[in-house]
């Protein structure tokens, strides 16, 4: 058992080394704010950068991150054409609060809900907030766990690099 | 084609439901083994409990109900464990919950098998399923008892006791019923029933609750024999001499000096309510293969 597992691990490490490419989005369905199904690979921004931020209505740093970016979102869009997609991992306990919270906060992001954590698991997320930056080919080129005051500046630096 | 597959599996699944009508209780008839000369498979149900555990009497009742159906094939042992559920109350709250039922071996087995760590009540049926599936909630006991009763009997145990004053001489005769080999231990314990004392039962504080088969003492836990090969009709005898006063004092000292929040109130044993429980377990996986019970004072 152990031998098999070790050889599996070795093969994986070798494979990851030999596959030096950026990661694509997994083909998983989430739901829109009007309860329709949406496959995450269908995200579009005409080749411009996309930021995907996983959050939850009960996660304070997530809300801080998204509220702070909301203040400068218009400027970011003017300068780079970036689109921010906020994916909520709220389950049926707090799902009803997602849309009212988003609207009351006056966010202009594209919001989706990952009901049972399928997308969260497919993308290897264990804690929120977890933010990803996608390039024009919708590949993940940068990611960041957690949020502290000022992290939005680093995110914007990364977006600008792509927009060049 | 895919339409048909999914719709078909769909419809099939939806048809799977049962509704039973009352009366729900059925006549059990007699399921006990009747031949008293041959050895039958007996089961040890270890019920981990505590006198301030309000859900525990339900488990004790379950044990009694299983005993009612299968008779002498079911042998119960109650182990009072944990600080939360078995420690005696402070003397300022006397006479409520002053007794300390806990024993050194109850705690050792609780720590080894991780019973109260998950919650009380909890128990084991012949310690089957160690190390991952041995702890069973009371609703799971019956199913495992039924599957255990179907197993073959490898050992037959006969207990004889001789009591004078506070001294008891206990003789255990183990007869081998099949050619087997393995590493087995023979355990001999003393338990006491009909102890009237406090117990929380659901939302009530019951002053005169009848505590049964509470473990009092572990007398011996030794290798069954030097060799690991056993042949049919072999007979192994072990004799133990004990002094009840000494054993009682040991428990009192344990409660006073070692048990968490103990108060030394662990005595007042009644020999006429005590039984000897002997069982054989497999040293490699803890499973109990045979158990027997006999009154101490015949």
């Amino acid at each position: 058992m152990k031998k098999l597992f070790l050889s599996l691990l070795a093969t994986i490490l070798f494979s990851t080394l030999s596959i030096a490419q950026n990661r694509a989005l997994p083909s998983v369905d989430v739901i829109t704010v009007t309860e329709e199904r949406f496959n995450i690979t269908d995200l579009e921004n005409n080749g411009k950068p996309i930021v995907i931020s996983f959050w939850a209505t009960w996660c304070k740093p997530c809300k801080e991150e998204l509220n702070t970016i909301a203040e400068v979102y218009e400027d970011w869009q003017d300068e780079t054409g970036v689109k921010l997609v906020a994916i909520s991992i709220d389950d049926s306990k707090t799902k009803a609060k997602v849309v009212p919270y988003v609207n009351a906060s006056e966010w202009d992001y594209e919001v989706y809900i990952d009901k049972n954590g399928d997308l969260k698991r497919a993308m290897g997320i264990s804690t929120v907030p977890h933010t990803f930056l996608l390039n024009s080919k919708k590949e993940i080129v940068w990611q960041h766990k957690g949020y502290v005051d000022g992290d939005e500046d680093e995110l914007f630096e990364q977006i600008k690099k792509l927009a060049r | 084609m895919k339409n048909i597959i999914t719709l078909f599996s769909f419809i099939l699944i939806i048809t799977s439901c049962d509704v039973v009508e009352g009366p729900y209780e059925i006549d059990t008839g007699d399921v006990t083994a009747t031949d008293t000369n041959t050895y039958v498979k007996k089961i040890l149900i270890e019920d981990f409990t505590g006198h301030t555990c309000q859900n525990c009497p339900a488990a004790a009742r379950e044990l009694e109900a299983i005993h009612d159906i299968y008779g002498d094939q079911i042998i119960g042992m109650a182990l009072h464990v944990s600080k939360t559920f078995a420690r005696p109350y402070a003397s300022s709250q006397a006479p409520n919950y002053q007794y300390d039922f806990r024993t050194k071996w109850g705690k050792e087995w609780d720590d080894l098998f991780g019973i109260s760590g998950i919650g009380l009540p909890g128990g084991m049926i012949n310690r089957i399923g160690y190390p991952n599936e041995h702890r069973l909630g009371k609703d799971e006991w019956l199913a495992r008892v039924i599957s255990e009763l179907e197993k073959e009997v490898d050992f037959g145990i006969r207990i004889t006791t001789n009591m004078t004053e506070n001294e008891a001489v206990i003789t255990i005769n183990t007869e081998i019923l099949n050619n087997i080999n393995g590493d087995y231990n023979l355990v001999v314990c003393l338990s006491e029933s009909n102890i009237i004392n406090w117990q929380k039962d659901g939302s009530e504080d019951v002053e005169n609750y009848e505590h049964n088969h509470a473990l009092r003492s572990l007398l011996s836990d030794e290798n069954l024999s030097n060799s690991s090969n056993y042949a049919t009709a072999d007979n192994i005898e072990q004799t133990i001499s004990v002094n009840l006063n000494t054993l009682e004092q040991f428990n009192i000292n344990y409660s006073q000096n070692t048990a968490e929040l103990g108060n030394g109130n662990a005595g007042e044993w009644n020999a006429s309510n005590m039984s000897v429980i002997a069982y054989i377990y497999d040293n490699t996986n803890q499973e109990i293969l045979q158990v027997e019970e006999a009154h101490l004072n015949n």
Partner: protein, 544 residues
């Protein structure tokens, strides 16, 4: 035997793939490690661990190539942390799966997670923080035959620690988006769904007739129009007696649950009104009444609090019977207005109240029959009540303030499973001030001051937290909880804690030292008891 084949298959598949030329397969995963040391501390009741350090670790690996995905998870408990059940022991690969989509039919074999509707009759999910994982092992099919119609069916066994429960669980779900299916151009969207789950377990009970196939149905309706959204779900579970030999324990009554919520929102304002009624609705993968077998999910109808003292006495759904209501209001006072100030002010109001059902939950056996009233709030035993108001205001470019006041009523006997009459209802009043100050670019200090005033339970508490963060990599925090109001003077203790961490990209490392209070940690409707502890903690998490 089956395990060996699975692993050999995965290893050789990956090995072959890593040598392929135009390989578009990808391997990704994540790693989590949580290690703690336990030293004895008699004052707070913390026990030392024999092993000194306890450790939980997880490694997820997923392989994707086109429409095919496969993966596994390695879990290690050497030994499990003290707040985890003892049954989590050793190492293993308890999660492995392969999934393939062809022409819209998605087939998954092996382990999977699934939810029917909102989870009232079935939810298989994982939450590592709680030690909850009831993954299914079997086969799942998903298919959309026509636009707007979504079908899924599954069969399998439910995971319990490192093994699987006895019952065989079968489920099916159909959801129809009427607007998509019928090509309606209406502004009002309607979605209906019907789910079904049944469990098979043999009846070997010699004393009672038990149903071998226990079924549960749930119907749901969702109506959306502009800023309005109504969502309702009704579930029933047919006879599901526990299978005890004691007559009073076997309850043949049908269980039911109703969830109904209405929300309205527009820019700057949102309101959520929810209710639920639960009656004998715990559904398990086996007949025994043990929490590790629960396969449905009835979330607690209360706010998920993040501030420590607001979550000191958390509520948990009483699936045997409860009736609850909850209201949330979100409002942003416009910037420039009098109360709004320069940046606007946010107000969040929440109210929730949960009480028992009239006369207890539904019951049916040969001797007794009871069906509680549908709605009854006056005179029923209160389980939980929570009124709270949160105000957030950005004062200037450097200072942001959040203030919270709350009043909670907590029925400690019922919610913690203690003997009725032992503790009664704990009333607490809570006030919180959370101020963050930006020293300079990237450097921020945040201070939290919390106060809980109560007479019952453990009495009053104070909590102070100071956190210093340096973007984008560092954080440092010091926290102290002080139980100054405890009636037992020897328990008026400080729980001091220091934490620091480093984050870079997808990696996070945090080290902490200090005392943790014994308590209940709840997420959703699931709670776990956490014992008090004293020692070091180390957490590492990473994705690749």
């Amino acid at each position: 035997m089956f395990k060996k084949i699975t692993y050999t298959f995965i290893v050789s598949f990956l090995a072959l793939n890593s040598f392929a030329q135009n390989n578009s397969g990808e391997i990704h995963g994540d790693f989590d490690l949580n290690m703690q040391s336990y030293q004895e501390d008699k004052l707070i009741g913390a026990k030392a661990a024999d092993e000194i350090i306890l450790n939980n670790a997880y490694l997820n690996i997923n392989y994707t190539k086109g429409d095919f995905t496969a993966g596994l998870r390695y879990e290690s408990y050497l030994n499990a942390l003290m707040d985890f059940d003892d049954s989590y022991k050793g190492n293993g690969i308890p999660f492995r799966y392969a999934s393939y989509t062809i022409d819209g039919l998605e087939v998954t074999v092996g382990n999977y997670y699934e939810q029917v509707g909102s989870g009232l009759i079935f939810r298989s999910y994982e939450n590592k923080g709680l030690g909850a994982d009831n993954a299914m092992d079997g086969i799942r099919l998903k298919y959309s035959p026509l636009k707007g119609i979504y079908l899924k069916s599954f069969i399998g066994k439910s995971r319990t620690y490192f093994t699987y429960a006895d019952g065989i669980i079968r489920g099916a779900d159909a959801e129809v988006n009427l607007n998509e299916a019928l090509n309606l151009e209406s502004k009002t969207k309607i979605i209906i769904g019907q789910g079904f789950v049944s469990r098979f377990q043999a009846d070997i009970n010699p004393k009672f007739k038990l149903p071998q196939n226990v079924a549960a149905y749930s119907t749901r309706l969702n109506i959306i129009n502009g800023g309005w959204n109504y969502s309702g779900e009704y579930a029933i579970k047919l006879n599901d007696p526990v299978g005890s030999l004691t007559t009073e324990v076997n309850n043949y009554a049908n269980g039911n649950a109703l969830m109904s919520n209405l929300t309205y929102s527009k820019r700057g304002f949102g309101i959520v009104v929810e209710m639920h009624r639960v009656d004998h609705m715990e559904f398990r993968s086996e007949r025994a009444q043990e929490k590790q077998y629960i396969i449905n999910y009835i979330p607690t109808l209360t706010k998920q609090h993040t501030y420590t003292l607001l979550a000191l006495y958390p509520s948990a759904t009483q699936t045997e019977g409860e009736f609850g209501t909850q209201i949330d209001v979100f409002y942003k006072i416009k910037k420039g207005s009098l109360l709004g100030g320069k940046y606007g002010t946010k107000i969040i109001f929440n109210y929730s109240r949960i009480n028992a059902l009239n006369g207890g939950s539904s019951f049916l056996n040969d001797n007794r029959k009871h069906n509680p009233m549908f709605i009854s709030t006056k005179g029923e035993e209160l389980y939980y009540k929570d009124i709270n108001l949160e105000i957030y205001k950005k004062i200037n470019k450097k200072i942001r303030v959040t203030g919270v006041i709350a009043k909670q009523s907590y029925n400690k006997d019922v919610l913690e499973g203690k003997t009725p009459g032992t503790y009664g209802i704990v009333e607490s009043t809570i006030a919180i001030a959370d101020i963050s100050y930006k020293i300079k670019k990237g450097h921020t200090v945040r201070i939290e001051l919390q106060e809980l005033l109560a007479d019952g339970g453990e009495g009053s508490w104070s909590m102070g937290l100071a956190e210093y963060t340096i973007s984008p990599h560092w954080f440092f925090a010091v926290q102290d909880m002080y139980n100054w109001g405890n009636h037992d003077v020897s328990k008026q203790l400080h729980y001091l804690n220091v934490n620091c961490g480093f984050l870079k990209g997808a990696n996070r490392i945090a080290i902490g030292y200090g005392k943790k209070r014994a308590g209940i940690f709840c997420v959703g409707g699931v709670c776990k008891e956490v014992p008090s502890s004293n020692g070091f903690s180390l957490t590492i998490s990473s994705s690749f």
